[in-house]
Amino acid sequence: MPVKGLKKTGEYFDSVTLMLVARSLTEMEGVEEATVVMGTAENKQILAASGLLLDEFKDATDTDLLIAGKAPDEATAGSVIARAEELLIESKQKKASAGEHLPRSIEGAVDELSGANMVLISVAGRYAGDVAMEALEKGLHVLLFSDNVSIEKEKELKEFGREKGLLVMGPDCGTAIINGAPLCFANVVKQGKIGIVAASGTGLQEVSCIIGNQGEGISQAIGTGGRDVKKDIGGIMFLEGIKALAADGATEVIVLVSKPPSPEVLASVGETIKDISKPVVAILIGGDPKVMEAAGALAARDLERAGLIAVALARGEDPAGIEKALAARSEEIKKQASAEAGKMKEGQKYLRGLFSGGTLCDETQLMFKDSLGPVYSPAPIDPDFKLDDIWKSRENTVVDLGEDEFTVGRPHPMIDFLLRKKRIVEEAKDPEVAVILLDVVLGYGSNMAPGEELAGPIREAKKLAADSGRHLAVICSITGTHKDPQSRKKVEKELKEAGAIVMETNAAASELTVAIVKIRGGK
């Protein structure tokens, strides 16, 4: 089959732009395969494997743009190149308006933006560490969104940052709110009294949204990247973040969000919070709360409780009232579960959880484990429950579609819903499925129309089930606020109209799911 290609020297585009362009090209009529990549060694290998590595591509470097199209006839293959160029020009126009000159270095940007204090970095991991060090050396705080930065580099950056009094959020830090500004994948939450330090991106988003939706606000939400709380890094930025919030006049309550830190880091966190007079709420997903409690923190069982406890403390209320309110909600959830389960057909008993947020996926796994036992997953809590094939669910399964194995060559599932849309329909074909559970994460950086994106596949999934006499429950949680650019209210309406049940938090959605699966005998 004819392959046409073009190499453009000295043209650089980020990977998300290229992936979205390639997606549009692949959708062109008659096109068998299309690709637009930078000429890195890795990409050239991928092109070679799919028969798209043309001779003129072989000596390409990281700054050469490679466009290739495969189609049954030469004209169609050639049309891929023309369309790719159009789309890339459009993306350039989005980057800089006509006549605008963008600086080519941090130095140039500092000259242009007097008083600059933060650098956001989302370039390929192998360059990101050096770019971050350059920013720190210029006295700028850093949010390092990129992953694939070595642990040695991370340590070097964080030790340097600590010495200079600079924040180093990341690598692999997806979100933060600093001085009210939503950074990367962040939600719009008003400024307020509650400060967050989080080694978990979606954990930070879920807690800050719960706080915002309760009418309280965030002073600062500092992300550290998940690896910060592991032994090698020793919690450098997690601890610096806690100290900063302890000293910050606007912060009255501190919330700590993390997957279980290493024992050494946990002990240091305990030592640090002992001396803090402000109330500290800790949610260590899957971790032992005793160390936190011994140090005087309030340990929360889930992200929702962490947010609600912080809100109560910020208002000077007794957090004990929260359990009463949640117990009343649990009664409602049980009734709802029984109504849903009652409509289902014999044999329908399992959960399929399709997540875009890793921490939300972990939270659901834990809630299942505590009530019904472990669930299958590519990253299970119980190693015996590892899925053999990540593309194929069995019994109760939850997957985080943001895991590296799902994101090779495609944008994160909070941006690109394609994979999840396909899988929703696939799962609906399985007669043993009772519930499909979805997290919908709003905010800057995420897909701008998640309700519209998911409505089609939800309708299709429910129809597929109904056509064979089944009632399929699709349960969604929304991590977002009414002020987010997507509007929580609008998304909720679209999902409900498509037939989904929408719960206010992931904890509530998981509780309903557990209750249905329990009634249906899914374990």
Binding site: V16, D62, T63, L113, L120, S122, L167, Y444
Partner: protein, 56 residues
């Protein structure tokens, strides 16, 4: 001074990489300048290694 006074300052950002992060900040009313970044030395790993060896 906490973090060199960061919490007392207006947040002004420099964005290197995904343009959507700049757009989000501007949309939310914060100043942000995009850097037109490209890999150093044209991204050629041999050239980069040679420059590093020369201390450049």
């Amino acid at each position: 001074m906490i973090l060199n006074g960061l919490f007392e300052q207006e947040l002004k950002s420099i964005n290197i990489g995904l343009v959507s992060f700049r757009d989000a900040l501007k949309d939310a009313g914060y100043e942000c300048v995009q850097v037109d970044w490209a890999p150093p030395a044209g991204g050629d790993e041999d050239v980069m290694a040679a420059l590093a060896a020369l201390g450049l």
